[in-house]
Amino acid sequence: MKYLMSKYSFKVLAGAALAMIVLVIFPYGASASSETDMLWRKGNDAYSMGDYSVALENYLSIEKLDKVNEHLYFNIGNTYYKLGNTGKAILYYERCLKLNPANQDASVNLEIARMGATDKIETIKGVIFVEWIRSIRNAFSSNQWCLGGFVLLLVTALLFLVYRHFPVLGIRKLSFVLSCIVLVFAIIAFIFSASLKAVANDTSYSIVTASHSNVKSAPNATGNNLFILHTGTKVRTIESAGEWSRIELADGRQGWITSVDIEQI
């Protein structure tokens, strides 16, 4: 009888903990106002009617309110694509993927939009193992990994309690080993989550949004022209000096470009 009692209280505790985590994570930062909702709906309606410039106006005014999410970026990307602005479309798809690398629609559309970009730059491939880890990491968003980490942590705690208090020795041994393994997975999930957050907060990548821009050898107009970049090309900014940014291409070439010609992802 006492035994049953203890099991019941255990379940209650576990449920309370999970509910708490879910409650804490989900509504966090969610501040949907009727204004953004209205703009969002107006934008979507205009898009479905084919009135892309009106849709864009609505979407951009949501962005101006500093309220964003991956869907907004995705839709802005689509709208720019329909308006024929490949550079901006690529920029917004990249922004969407930065928030959630697992967004399939954005990856597909980014591929399509990149076909319209002029520059073809050979990217240097990393080690296969690292690429593989990265692809696993990119399968979920940061918050999804975080939630998964908490669930695993909860499982660890339960297994730990089983290890501490279960009367049968074999099960106690097994649950100890399991709790250690699950804890390792929980830590990996948190690392992935943190890594995705770091990617999202990484401000070093930009997209060329001007139709074409000369990349010079020095941060002034008199510098030699090294090469010309066209709209839609992804570059990494290394440093800025005044109105100039030092950029590096995916193939390793560097140069200075006017900052107005690029836009940070």
């Binding site: 505790l13 949501i62 995705f74 399509i112 918050n143 309690l161 943190a194």
Partner: protein, 620 residues
């Protein structure tokens, strides 16, 4: 009888008509269209039949000098046994133009076999100050039949030069301000006055850069006609005629045409005797290069925006769209025919867009032209045939074919539209009579087009930019909370376990005491010789002790569990057997009759119980 009469009369009428049309009579008139005031000229009426009566025309602005005089020409011929005859009657009127202006020759008519044939009335321009001599008969003749070498005209120039007004080239354009694609007729004409032309050399026709050009007339013989050119009577000849379709916009210059003309000019002048003409070479060949003036055509672009289905057509057009068959078996060829008819730049039309169902196999468009060149560009039809082979059954809808062209007269785009067409594809006949089971030919799902994926309509929450949970203060709070909860749960479980342990220890500790109390009670009953109560108390003491000591519930108090538990606690077999035998004795005694109790046995059992419990106490 009546019937045969009727048919006979019909036959007669038909025969009469046949006879009539076999030799169609006509009355033609021949007169110059331009004359100078005071000039005497002829009007000739010709009829190819016997005439009963000739009604001369009424003349206004002309004075009849002589006539009508009739002449008759008859000829017979027999070629290969076939004889034919022709008869020509002509009536000639000699008139003089009274004064400058318009002169009118009214209708003339003849009576042939009681039938009146009339010919058209004529208007004649009478130009003041013409230099045509009234004595020059040849100019009054049918100018159409004259050749330039035979052309005679009084030569006014006697100094051996030809002035620009005596002979010049002119390129006449039907329009000088057009829209792109609008046809223009360009006519290159040679005008001469009072000079004889002996021949041409070195003719250079203009190159129509910026135009699509097509020759309309390339005369083999240069035929001169009289023409009133700015109040002067000239003999003009068409050298060439083109139709031009402008292909670019802006003002386009047409380079001048050139030609070197040889003139026969009389030299000497002064006194002339009638012998000079015969015996001295008083004519001289003079060459002169003639140019046209440069002309410019202003070409405007077509109004913008042009409809999406504009196919480059300018002019007037109609469209007819038809299917080769309304019902067609699958895998058999059919076609949609779009026929554009009308006039305009038919040669430059693009094929209209026909939305053949994507499931049909489509082939190249076949274009058939059937048009002739004319002053309005091309007129006729242009046919586009869109062949296809349907591959699956069903009723397919072909949307209306629309085609726009620019209507010059209306000055706007006109859109032609056919109604939507419907084609029924029936099941195709099995190919051949073979027994092979033919499956459906498999085909990959073809991409008709590609597009980006549609927008997300997720009703989503918007958050400020940095909304990722990991690494925030709340994240660490959550982890600490989870750890704290785990710790708390652990503590609770530990405390619970300890409490449970206490209960057992207390029961353990109490077991001996309780057993002793019960044994004491039992010894009391033994002294009083109450057998039943003694055994009951002894049974309780034994079971209660074991229950408390080994934490076995009363409900689980089966013999087997007791034995198992005792063995698990490593109690000696002897003690276990003693305990079990005691329990058996107690149970047996409790349920047997009261008389069976023996004091000595009870005493021995009491002693045995004390012994077993003390033995257990030392081991458990």
């Amino acid at each position: 009888m009546r019937r045969s009469l009727f048919s006979k009369s019909v036959l007669t009428v038909i025969c009469a008509f046949v006879a009539l049309f076999a030799r169609a009579q006509s009355l033609t008139v021949d007169a110059p269209n331009v004359v100078s005031a005071g000039e005497v000229f002829q009007i000739v009426y010709t009829v190819n039949a016997d005439v009963d009566n000739f009604n001369p025309p009424t003349l206004s602005g002309l004075t009849l000098l002589a006539g009508p005089t009739s002449s008759r020409m008859q000829s017979y011929s027999n070629v290969n046994g076939k004889s034919s005859s022709s008869l020509e009657l002509s009536y000639t009127l000699v008139v003089r133009a009274a004064s400058a202006g318009k002169a009118k020759i009214g209708q003339a008519s003849v009576q042939v076999n009681g039938k009146t044939i009339s010919c058209r009335a004529l208007d004649i321009d009478v130009v003041a100050g013409g230099n045509q001599s009234s004595g020059n008969q040849s100019s009054h003749q049918n100018s159409q039949s004259q050749d330039n070498d035979q052309y005679q005209s009084q030569n006014r120039s006697s100094n051996g030069t030809i002035s620009d007004t005596d002979a010049f080239l002119s390129l006449n354009l039907s329009r000088t301000s057009v829209v792109k694609g609008e046809p223009i007729v360009a006519t290159l004409k040679l005008y001469v006055k009072n000079v004889n032309i002996a021949g041409f050399e070195d003719v250079k026709f203009p190159v129509f850069n910026g135009f699509w050009s097509q020759e309309l007339e390339v005369p083999q013989n240069i035929n001169f006609t009289r023409e009133n050119y700015h109040g002067q009577i000239y003999n003009s000849a068409v050298l060439r005629k083109w139709v031009l379709l402008p292909q670019k916009t802006g003002s386009i210059n047409i380079d001048p045409a050139e030609l070197v003309c040889q003139f026969q000019v009389r030299v000497g002048g002064g006194r002339r005797s009638m012998f000079d003409d015969f015996f001295s070479d008083s004519y001289q060949m003079v060459k002169k290069r003639l140019f046209t003036k440069q002309s410019t055509i202003a070409v405007k672009n077509l109004p913008s925006p042009a409809p999406a289905d504009f196919g480059g057509g300018v002019g007037q057009m109609q469209m007819k769209v038809s299917l080769s068959r309304d019902s067609i078996p699958a895998h058999e060829a059919g076609s949609i025919t779009v026929e554009l008819s009308g006039s305009g730049n038919l040669n430059l039309l693009e094929a209209p867009k026909v939305n053949i169902p994507a499931d049909f196999e489509q082939y190249d468009v076949k274009t058939t032209n059937n048009y002739s060149n004319g002053a309005a560009g091309m007129s006729g039809t242009k046919t586009f045939e869109f062949p296809f082979i349907p591959r699956s059954e069903g009723v397919f809808e072909i949307p209306a074919v629309t085609y726009s062209y620019y209507d010059i007269k209306a000055g706007k785009y006109v859109t032609l539209s056919s109604g939507p067409l419907s084609i029924k594809v029936t099941k195709g006949s099995a190919t051949g009579g073979s027994a092979v089971i033919s499956g459906v030919s498999k085909q990959a799902v073809a991409n008709l087009g590609s597009d980006i994926r549609y927008i997300s309509n997720a009703s989503s929450r918007f958050s400020s930019r940095n909304s990722m949970f990991v690494g925030k203060a709340m994240f660490f709070v959550c982890i600490l909370l989870l750890a704290a909860l785990t710790w708390l749960a652990d503590r609770m479980l530990v405390r619970r376990a300890r409490l449970r342990g206490d209960v057992r220890r207390r029961a353990n500790r109490r077991a001996n005491k309780v057993a002793n109390a019960r044994l004491k009670q039992a010894s009391g009953y033994l002294a009083k010789d109450l057998g039943s109560a003694f055994y009951e108390e002894l049974h309780k003491a034994l079971l209660g002790y074991i229950s408390d000591k080994l934490a076995i519930k009363f409900s689980d108090m089966q013999r087997d569990t007791i034995v198992e538990t005792l063995e698990a606690h490593k109690v000696e077999k002897e003690d276990v057997d003693n305990f079990i035998s005691l329990l058996d004795d107690c149970e047996m005694a409790r349920y047997s009759s009261a008389s069976a109790y023996e004091n000595s046995a009870m005493n021995a059992q009491y002693m045995k119980a004390v012994e077993v419990i003390s033995s257990f106490e030392s081991k458990l």
